[in-house]
Symmetry: C2
Subunit: 299 residues, 2 copies
Amino acid sequence: MAVDTFDTYLAEKTAYIEGKLTPALEREGVPAALYESMKYSLMAGGKRLRPMLVLAVLEAMGKPIERGVPFAVALEMIHTYSLIHDDLPAMDDDDLRRGKPTNHKVYGEATAILAGDALLTRAFSHIAEAYRGRLDVSAHTIVNLIAELGKRAGATGMVGGQMADIEGESKSLELHELEFIHEHKTGDLLIAALRGGGYLAEASEQQMEKLTRYGYCIGLAFQIQDDILNVEGDAAELGKAVGSDAERQKATYPSILGLAESKARLDALITEAKAALKDAGFAHSALSPLADYVRDRKK
Amino acid sequence: MAVDTFDTYLAEKTAYIEGKLTPALEREGVPAALYESMKYSLMAGGKRLRPMLVLAVLEAMGKPIERGVPFAVALEMIHTYSLIHDDLPAMDDDDLRRGKPTNHKVYGEATAILAGDALLTRAFSHIAEAYRGRLDVSAHTIVNLIAELGKRAGATGMVGGQMADIEGESKSLELHELEFIHEHKTGDLLIAALRGGGYLAEASEQQMEKLTRYGYCIGLAFQIQDDILNVEGDAAELGKAVGSDAERQKATYPSILGLAESKARLDALITEAKAALKDAGFAHSALSPLADYVRDRKK
């Protein structure tokens, strides 16, 4: 897929997914401020990378992407809740996200905590409700989706990564500690997206393994590129200050490995991600330019 | 069931359930502080009323109570996460719960938020993992359990009730507003317990309706008795101060209806709960003395 074709692909899929998010929220019987707060963060933009991965796996296996929508939406709800809670004063204490005031700045802390809780809860009930009774998705598959998502989003996954990140702020980290944080805080939800797509498309065991490896590689690559952009990115394009990691003495790939070695590691991960795709028979799918995108993005 | 027999029943079931909680937490790959924080609140005592209801429905229908354990444990995880988040400084700002320091007082706010998030997530993945592949619980039933739990715990249920409660603190409430709060903040998770037990025991539609009604009634009754105890309870037995609601000018049943009318309403709800049990054929089950217990408890 050529770069300009892929840009169009990304734009189309983002618009497609964004149209599915708000309708998946419950509205009737929900206090207005809670609903507004959930919707505010869910619709606050972003790359929609996790939903994209679900749809791309289905496409790669010749299945209708519509089948992935409820799971894709659930992933974006979980990603959104994690950002709301991460931004809280007791956590990272951020006032802005993607150039907009964070949830608790707009709705207050109590509502922000509850909006996060409600989005997390809705992710699971939405999967159960939206797939229940469908002929193309078995109850067994629904249970697998929920087990997968819970494992990757919870204490052994994303929440565990966030915990390690908070603990790591007050000390200097070794590379394996930094990688534990990224593997879980970022990588696990990407892996859930890919494996969820695999369950929905009835991927083989071998394909599931390769998708998992691909997700692990692009998850780490994503974070390395984040760290590199914080050193040499364009503040205007990024929409945030560069050099902030060094200022805060935050452990990053460049601070541990140096810039050149970080770039080499990034390249190696993208190469490995693509090898995994080839092994699974997905070399010509959108997952391949998606890996390049993770490395080459400027914001 | 005689009162002393029922006390023994409660004690036995509480001990049985408490033995199932910690083993349901993931440990490997979980940062130690996160695991400890989750376990601290999960094992901090309490009536274990929600798990008890699951087991009682199974018993009432002649099914093995063991079948209810993963769902019962998940309910207690969700109840526990809600207490951790409710106690946060941004919410009720409580330092003590059941005579012990609250989670954030022991582990800090960031860890408490994450422990709550992880318990909520684990509730869903535990149901999926523990029941998956069992011969006595179909995948279809697992999906129903998760949909039920999500609906009752999320924005249309418990979280919505908590939101209304926070919004109500700054104004005087009418009775229907107070009942909305209790129906959702307390009642919905009790209803989830009963309906979940019903799904697991293959209850009829009519039995599910009656269990729902029973749950609604004992949920409101529970809160009315809470409010009454805050007026005329014994501080030593309660383990907390009485009169605190009046001091804070909190809207309660006694403040809206008066004490005598509140007691009459409590009695009427227990009578209605028992009538629902009788209609469902559960008049001689432990659910009947459980309803009395909700009214007659002194703490």
